[in-house]
Amino acid sequence: MPKVSMTVNGNAVTAEADARTLLVQYLRESLRLTGTHVGCDTSQCGACVVHVDGKAIKSCTMFAWQAEGANVQTIEGLAKDGKLHPMQEAFRENHGLQCGFCTPGMIMTAVDLVHRKGNNLDEKTIREELEGNICRCTGYHNIVKSIAAGAKAMA
């Protein structure tokens, strides 16, 4: 089987992956980074969002080989030196999660949103930008609050 190499959360990694292996399968099954989740099979739910070369992507829409040589960041790589990322803190502080399954994708999307749109995000912008992330537990109310607070804390 061909080998695919990339940098994941700052570590150089190499693992076997056939041509149809999705990036999310590579992360979950080859690297055992199970924080990235799979919630659908039509690229709608956003539970699998990771950052590839600094941009949020749904890792179920990309083959592992397409990320050859890329710099990938997953939810496991967000906290640095044992300190939570401000967006992670904001989700905990504002009760932005219940079952936790959509949470890694929500947080990765939120961090990318702040990178693109800045630290002062209004409710309408946050809600529109979450079009690609589905949560069934929270009704989004506290996710929106979390992201607004996390965006400010990232400044």
Binding site: C99, G100, F101, P104, K124, R127, C137, Y140, I143
Partner: protein
Amino acid sequence: MSATGIGAAVRRKEDFRFITGKGQYTDDINRPGQTYIHFVRSPHAHAKIRKIDSAEASKMPGVVAVLTGKDLANDKIGNLICGWAITSKDGTPMKMSAHPAIAADKANHVGDAVAVVIAETLGQAKDAGENVKVDYEVLPAVADPAKAQAKGAPLIHDIAPNNTIYNWHLGDQKATEAAFASAKHVTKLDIVNNRLVPNAMEPRAALADYDAGNDALTLWNTSQNPHVARLVIAAFVGMAPEHKLRVIAPDVGGGFGSKIFIYPEEVVCLWASRKVNRPVKWNSDRSEAFLTDAHGRDHVTHAEMAFDADGKITGLRAKTIANLGAYMSTFSSSVPTYLYATLLSGQYGIPAIYCEVDAVYTNTVPVDAYRGAGRPEATFVVERLVEVGAREMGVDPADLRKKNFVKAFPHATPVIMTYDAGDYAASLKKAQEIADIKGFGKRKRDSARNGKLRGMGYSTYIEACGIAPSQAVGSLGAGVGLWESAEVRVNPTGSVEVLTGSHSHGQGHETTFAQLVSERLGIPIENISIVHGDTDKVQFGMGTYGSRSGAVGMSAIVKALDKVEAKAKKVAAFMLEAAETDIEFKDGKFTVAGTDKSAAFGDVALNAYIAHKFTGAELEPGLKEGAFYDPTNFTFPAGCHICEVEIDPETGITEVVGWTAVDDFGVVINPMIVEGQVHGGIAQGVGQALYEGTVYDKDGQLVTGSYMDYAMPRADYLPSFKVDTTVTKCPSNPLGMKGCGEAGAIAAPAAVINAITDALGTEDIAMPATPAAVWRAIQKHPTRHAAE
């Protein structure tokens, strides 16, 4: 109130692992040497299985085995069952069909499993699945519950003529007829309560591991109630004796009812693991979830409400056809009966109620409990009738409600339930204030100036939660008792583990249960662990659904804590050389009354284990107590939700512009978590009212089988919510709790539709009120809203 005790908005203990990607969901668990299973599913809604040819598939790379329903039957693996017996009005039992985990002779819905492939990788299993050749004889199918009983409709199970599972009724028919005969006004409605797909974000999964050395099986699965799964799989399916089967439900990513049930896939994984003598893993695709997770609702109802000249409700009658799908799922029979008709009195004093329910088979995915289960359907019937009744009689809908509210408790309804406590007018009043109903007229005029239609709708709902007591549910047909258990283990160092039969899949039990223990024992919340979801660790439990974890699960913990405190007092008495009756316990300290002699909780725990201060004859060492708790009644959360919508008549798009919820959940342990539960419930209820429509075509194909077609509520479809509470204590459990999990989903659909119909001036709209449906209603009744 302490910072971590009852009533405090403690941040959740479980969150750290979830926000760092360290949760352990079933699909995150792997076993050495595991294989992967792929289910070959029927593409037809109704088809005889003539022949299955697996020769080619068996020879494909990596394939370990291809198994069929015949293999399952040969190994004498039993059928899945429905555990709640319903009796028809003629005294005959419900017509429960056989439900094999893999269909052997006939597939009865699209997605019914007909074979499985087990292979070294998932890709190999799926590839081989493509080459399992199934020769089907396609039969006519029926998907619409209203057509299932028609003459000439395709018969799904021989045991059930006319596809009818039961004709059930509740209430006093004669008294109800009399009430209608003397009514001053009668309001009539035809209602379709739309079928929903639960869609917990974590798809169902199962990992089975057979231990040949001990002839024992372990199952990791996405369950809301692992002990019940073990009981059913052991006792009814006959997979293994109960003590040789361990079921572990680790982190579970949402349930909403859909993970209560015992499904074919976990049974097949267990069986296959023993057969191939290797671990077998299954993880549902979302498309597979649409075709196999039990769906919710799907009622067709005609309902009428009778009023006297003063606007007092004198009677209610309803005739409902409930679609249970192709097979009877685990608790399906109870949902359109005892969880539905028993709530038709709503918050109102109604002297006479009569309800008839026909449950039918169709060639669709089985239907069972989904968030609220029967109570949203009942609330929709009652709250639409009251609202429409008020409009027809030209009275204010809130005033009509107030006039009919139950005001004295306990209140026995004509449909079994006895409401124990509540103050419905208080919730309504508070909600009206928060929603600023006085300003509605101005807001409506402002909307009109912008070419928009504005409407406001109420829903004053009631639900029965806590799903218990055992004796009561047993008399209504439940096959199990509905108590809960707890064990409190105090360690020698004074830290505490609580083992609970409740199961958390988003509700935050690791925090709220610890708050209770922290308050009672006066120890830091960090020193408390909540253990759940493993049949080898937890004594027994009935699991989490129907908002029972607080009212029933925590009550069991209270009982165990009472015993721990009593035992610890004995230990402290020996330590402090005082009489046991003189020992007082407060804020984590045991004190001899009237003295300054005291011992900290941790010291008492240590002394309980080192046992140096007393002899074995005087006191048993250790500090660990268990309890089973069976409540005395259901609990009755109730409240008032007010929805405000703005509709664009050009596009039919409805925007929810305001939401106020004032709920009475009794005593609240953690207001932050309770608010979160309300938010999520409202979102699911708004989803039902506006977006989520499950569509089967006439051949039984699921048209809405993915997130491309099934409209899950997104963040930009919803507003922020105003959520508040009123409190009347529940007298039926020691903490005075009622439960909050379903409230939003129960209240919301009627509030939305009442608001939309208020805006449009016509009652002629069904759920989901999509832009197309609203636009059509406007075209059909153009003058109504224009007259505003």
